[in-house]
């Protein structure tokens, strides 16, 4: 009884949130409704007894994916009205995906099978926790799918870098091993000066002898202005 009430509560909020995600004017609000929706989906997983999935949904989707969404809508000030106008073009693709999902739902709800002889998943006994039951299956019975996941993640990683990484030629980076290997004698020079005499008589002092560039290495040396170490500051 209580299970039913919680189910309908979570399900109703989830559907309402999904509606708000699509209809909200402010994209940041849309993402926040999406997050609320994720929480309710996690609640539904809990009702189904899948506590590991519920937590992972929160950790991965709310804690990571939605953060990326928020970053994007906050940082890239995309013109969302312009995007809305593209709706007509993408509508057929969206509809196709919707139909596929609907078909899957019908198959699940109607308990229909496309291929005969498929083994029903056996429910784990109450003495094994949800997480452990998953662990016993993923890495042995479904090892190929698991490795495929790894490859998908690799592609995602490389794709993200290829798409977003831009080297800025003027940027300087810290080279920590070089910095640590540096000796005081490389950069500093002690001079004995007469009272009233300048450094000019001794050939002027050079600052720094090796140049600052040695420890903060430029990505492209040609793009930088000539090094300061060539200039005699004292002269």
């Amino acid at each position: 009884m209580i299970t039913q009430i919680t189910f309908y509560l979570f399900a109703t909020i989830l559907v309402l949130c999904a509606g708000m995600v699509v209809s909200a004017r402010n994209p940041v609000h849309a993402v926040l409704f999406l997050i609320l929706g994720f929480f309710n989906a996690a609640g539904l997983f809990l009702i189904a007894g899948a506590e590991f999935l519920a937590m992972i949904l929160v950790i991965v989707y709310v804690g990571a994916v939605a953060v990326l969404f928020l970053f994007v809508v906050m940082m890239l000030d995309v013109n969302f009205n312009q995007l809305r106008e593209g709706l007509q073009r993408y509508a057929p693709v969206g509809a196709a995906i919707g139909v596929a999902l609907l078909a899957e739902l019908i198959f699940t709800v109607g308990r229909l099978k496309l291929v005969p002889g498929v083994q029903e998943p056996t429910l784990p006994g109450p003495q094994i926790s949800n997480t452990e039951a998953l662990g016993r299956l993923i890495y042995t019975d479904y090892v190929l799918l698991f490795q495929a996941c790894g490859l998908v993640l690799l592609v995602a990683m490389i794709g993200a870098i290829v798409l977003t990484l831009r080297d800025r030629p003027s940027a300087r980076r810290q080279n920590i091993s070089l910095q640590h290997a540096r000796l005081p004698a490389d950069t500093m020079e002690m001079m004995q000066l007469e009272v009233g005499a300048g450094t000019d008589a001794l050939g002027g002092f050079i600052r720094p002898r090796d140049g600052y560039g040695a420890t903060a290495e430029p990505i492209d040396a040609r793009a930088l202005p000539a090094r300061r170490s060539d200039e005699k500051l004292g002269a």
Partner: protein
């Protein structure tokens, strides 16, 4: 009486509410005295007295501050998104509190002794980003925005190594239940065999809670106060209290994962007389002192150094250590088979 509390629905609800208050009220008091304690410790380290005017030894200082904050005006900038602007501190404070529902204070004593306690803690701590990100965006101020983004990138960077540290502990324990994790440390606390992971966890915890030397999101000298620059009154107070509550939470997590939680340091007579919750509190206090000590000692990190430490040092190191742990347990046949309580 017993009939009411344990066998009727209303009784169970009342009991649960009382249990929650039994955690929350001491927690809020602890936050108030942590603020006071931090100022006193910092004062002692810097040869000052710290707060000493309000009440004996300044003991009521935090309450005076709280009353002052309560009566201040809540300024909402005209360009801000009002609902989200107020949601951000609310969210930060709620998230800092709800993690405590699963912390075990004695053998089997937790408000909710769930199977996936560690995952719950990990999930709640991964949500902490939102309060800061929303605050930074909703204020519609450049400093706040910059601070919010910095902070979000920082927190997610250190979360990965936090996760890997937790996984290597799970390898030894074989259960996600926090109580099982503590019971697995009966013979030796995990801070000894996994000392490098303990260090990484502690430093990552500093970064997760935006504490010095990783307090770049606030960075008074460059970002004036970071993501909460526009906040005033108790809206600011909730951020402030949330940060301290997160500190206590991270200390509790460190105690549970590495310092044996409510276990006595040695399983012999004089130590076992002291009840478990006292040991837990003592351990939390020790880790909290480390937090404050670090703040008094180290200068602030630079942002590129912070990212380098997270991605190029902690991530590969904790990954390699995790694999080595697994390999070692595999080779010596010390892996836990099944879990301690049957249901893990």
């Amino acid at each position: 009486m017993e009939q009411f509390f344990f066998h009727t629905v209303a009784g169970l609800v009342v009991l649960t509410v009382l249990e929650c208050l039994a955690i929350l009220v001491p927690l809020l008091m602890a936050v108030a005295y942590l603020v006071y304690g931090e100022r006193k410790v910092l004062g002692a380290i810097q040869l000052r007295k710290g707060p000493n005017t309000v009440g004996p030894f300044g003991l009521f200082q935090t309450f005076a501050d709280a009353i002052k904050m309560l009566t201040k005006e809540t300024v909402i900038p005209s360009g801000a998104n009002r609902a989200l602007y107020l949601l951000a501190p609310f969210l930060t404070f709620v998230l800092a509190m709800i993690a405590w529902a699963v912390i075990p204070t004695n053998n089997g004593w937790a408000i909710a002794n769930i199977n996936v306690g560690v995952l719950y803690l990990f999930a709640v701590s991964s949500l902490g980003v939102y309060g800061i990100l929303i605050a930074g965006w909703a204020s519609n101020s450049k400093y706040a925005f910059l601070g919010g983004l910095r902070s979000a990138a920082q927190m997610v960077s250190y979360e990965v190594s936090l996760g890997l540290v937790i996984v290597s502990i799970l390898l030894v324990v074989g259960s996600l239940n926090l109580n099982d994790i503590i019971l697995a440390q009966r013979h030796v606390w995990f801070c000894l065999p996994m000392l490098p992971m303990f260090v990484i966890f502690f430093i990552s915890a500093l970064a997760e809670t935006n504490r010095a030397p990783f307090d770049l999101p606030e960075g008074e000298s460059e970002l004036v106060a970071g993501f909460f620059v526009e906040y005033s009154s108790l809206a600011f107070g909730l951020f402030f209290l949330g940060e301290y509550m997160n500190m206590i939470l991270m200390s509790a997590m460190t105690s549970i994962l590495f310092l044996g939680g409510w276990l006595a340091p040695f399983n012999i007579a004089p130590f076992t007389w002291v009840p478990g919750p006292i040991w837990l509190i003592l351990k939390i206090l020790f880790v909290l002192f480390m937090f404050i000590w670090v703040r008094a000692t180290f200068p602030r990190y630079r942002y590129d150094q912070l990212m380098r430490l997270g991605w190029k040092v902690f991530l590969p190191f904790s990954l390699v250590w995790m694999v080595l742990t697994a390999g070692f347990l595999m080779a010596t046949g010390m892996l836990p088979v099944g879990s301690a309580n049957g249901v893990g």
